[in-house]
Amino acid sequence: MSDTRRALAVLTVEEGRDPAAVADALRDLAAAVPELRASHAGVHPSTVVAPPGMGAGAVTWDLVLDADAPHTPGDVLAHGAAHRLAGAVTVASEVGLDPLARNHVALDGPRIKRTLLLTVRPGARADAVARFEADLAAMPTHIGTIRSWSLSRTTGRSRWTHAWEQEFASLDGLTGEYMLHPFHWTTVDAWFDPEMPDHVVDPVLAHLFAQYGGPVL
């Protein structure tokens, strides 16, 4: 059993505060909060698609915590070491991550990390949800631009049931091959399409991405 666990939050940056400075301060917390093993933060560009407060200029914050630490991301923000962030951010969404499948692929240098937060509709059949999860986890075998990735069910109080995360060497890997690959639009997208009788995913999504200097997953 791993001695760490992952959590993820999307933070709204208050008006007048610099999102890049907020991301720097979040990254610095890893050196100041004992139970926080790693802290990665990226500022969303204008092309993300997300509910209000989670879009452009908001921050995706990835945390690796001691497995037995009780902290949610919000708890970490309340730590004394986070005083620089007081009044600068609001937690728009936070989830714990219970991985179903993942893979690490070595990649040097900066990368795009994409996070799709989604909600499986209440009442969706368990066998359909299992096939949906299997199709998502199969995407990296078809789409070569996906490097490290992780598919998780979420824990904690949140509207989201799943987090589907990938790293790409560049944004083209996401907007190009990922979106255009036929496995995506003939097979995986069907689970999201409300015109499909068997779709399982609620239409409200958070399609988030940001640039990071090194590995997150």
């Binding site: 979106m179 255009l180 036929p182 639009w185 003939t186 399409d193 409300p194 009788p197 239409p203």
Partner: protein, 110 residues
């Protein structure tokens, strides 16, 4: 089939309707669904159907409606409108009538 924005996309709806219900459903489809689908970029390729078997053998009629889109980016642009209330209502009404329904999104073979 490699990843490319240029490949044509086919969307095939197969709806199994009760005997005697196919003509009315197709007429409603042209009236209530086709205009909004075309506004999203769909082009209707054709509508086909089986003929009803003898009563008591199988009381369903399969109707197949085929649409095309010129490429993958056009497919995703059309998908952005798939949550429209009128579209959701159309399929909900269809599912109340239909004995079975499927939709396939297809690209060129190979």
């Amino acid at each position: 089939m490699a990843a490319s924005a240029e490949v044509p996309v086919r969307i095939v709806d197969r709806v199994t309707l009760p005997r005697g219900g196919a003509d009315a459903w197709v007429a409603r489809m042209h009236r209530e669904y086709r205009p909004s689908a075309e506004a999203r970029g769909y082009v209707l390729e054709g509508v086909w159907q089986t003929r009803a078997a003898d009563p008591g053998v199988f009381d369903g009629v399969d109707v197949v409606v085929e649409w095309r889109l010129p490429g993958v980016r056009e497919f995703f642009r059309a998908r952005a409108g798939s949550h429209a209330p009128a579209t959701v209502a159309w399929w909900a009404a269809t599912d109340e009538l239909a004995l079975a329904r499927s939709r396939s999104v297809l690209g060129p073979q190979g």
